[in-house]
Amino acid sequence: MNAILLNIAYIVAAVLFIFGIKMLGSADTARRGNLISALGMLLAVVVTLLNSGMDFRWIWIGLGLGTVIGVVWARVVKMTGMPELVALFNGFGGLASVFVAWAEFQKYFSEGGIGGIDNATFIAVIIAAATWIGCLTFSGSLVAWAKLSGKISGRPTILPKQRLIAIVLVLLSIASVVAFGMFPNGFLAYGLFLCVLVAAIGLGLFAVLPIGGGDMPVVISLLNSLSGLAASAAGFAIQNNVLIVAGCLVGCSGLILTLIMCKAMNRNLANVLFSGFGAVSSSEETEVEGEMKAVSVSDAYYVLEAAQSVVIVPGYGMAVAQAQHAVKELGNLLEENGAEVFYAIHPVAGRMPGHMNVLLAEADVPYEQLVEMDSINPRMPTVDVAIVIGANDVVNPAASDDPSSPIYGMPIIRANEARTVYALKRGQGAGFSGLTNKLYFLEKTRMLYGDAKETVAALVSEFKK
């Protein structure tokens, strides 16, 4: 295929991506937007395949295998498994970009090295950069996936000499990228290339391991952004403009989403990434007065039955217990009972951006009942009962009144202003972040201990009696 035609097709694909992303940002057009961007991808793939002189055998096998795995995966994944899946796909995208950059380096290597070509230093550095970003994305995503799927603990894991090793890896990364740019020929270059690869993989592990589960929404959207940048850098390496544009669009729009998440926690990106926040020792915290008072399901039922307005605040605990369907049933019964029911969604509730919305949508909760933090908070003092289901930090009043708290300043859903609070919680221990939640100690709060799904189901059966 003619190179000019090829590039025109790539421009069209890029335009389709732009419209696609734009439309994904608004509820009415989102689904069409996704379709349009998929069309752009199809176009880009088809015109690339039309490129003459290619050996198609392995291409068909690769495309076939990938498609089958992708289709099956997308069909069987449960909505509760969505954060893990997104993390894993980010990692795959990153690793694919690494292999593309590596194959390009291999081509130069077998032709006698990068050194002989025009702009040799730039090409070498960008190949190294694509490899570095891609590997970082891959290993970081893998850790995120392992944390989210419970393969390893979701708590912040601080390894011995954590900080020192991270600094060494950063220095090693910079040194090997620079050295690779200076000596891009022969076996020395190959060694340096592998250095970049190993340093980035190590850094990805060491960067994500110390980050606690509660900060995962930021991490996931940042990894998403990085997978785009990796593609963009790979695009520079093979000098392909559609990779550069599409990758860059994803990188930057992903960064915006990351910043939205940070803002919802009132923290900056550096703070999330480097503070090892969850490891803050609880000894610094001020003593909480009062005690946590447990209540039985039937007692809770009597109060709920009399309630005129109920706000349900879901958190990660609802996802873990897969309680969304039971919660929806409880919501319906409360409505039939004459109460006004809302679901208050905190932007960083759960483990990925929008996590709670996905789960509640799966359970058929009407969109009108989902309210964002800013619109529910002013109404909170008039709410009879707030039911907190497996949410912790996002309802912790310490964020607004305890300057010594590590989460001080984070906007919260002010469940503490409701007349009565029921908190569903697995046990008495502190949440994922390790912080004591003042909400649980308030005079108006009653704890319902146990698995969220079972507790909600018990409430439902009380209503049905």
């Binding site: 490129n51 989403l257 919305n357």
Partner: protein, 96 residues
């Protein structure tokens, strides 16, 4: 010169990327993320070229691995995004 042009494109795309997403309702955060993740699978184009045009065996294998991973990323990413958005859509038009 060629490289300067590519950098030029990159810079413009970066600004465009920042401008595209202004205020996204939190309902759409997950689909936006997984949908744009599928777009980052554009590296599939590089993978196809590497698989089809590499003259060394190693290069071809590298391309082949890239191709499988990128295809999973693209196909899985778009499908799962569509599945999610279908769920949302059903809700929007459901009984009030």
């Amino acid at each position: 010169m060629e490289l300067v042009l590519l950098l030029f494109i990159f810079t413009l795309a970066a600004f465009l990327g920042f401008e595209l997403i202004a205020k996204v309702p939190s309902q759409l955060h997950t689909p936006l993320m997984s949908g744009s993740n599928a777009i980052s699978g554009i590296t599939i184009v590089g993978a196809i070229t590497a698989t089809g045009l590499s003259d060394s065996l190693i290069g071809q294998w590298l391309g082949f691995f890239a191709l499988i991973l990128a295809t999973i990323n693209v196909v899985g990413g778009y499908l799962v995004t569509d599945r999610m958005l279908e769920m949302f859509k059903k809700k929007g038009k459901g009984p009030k």
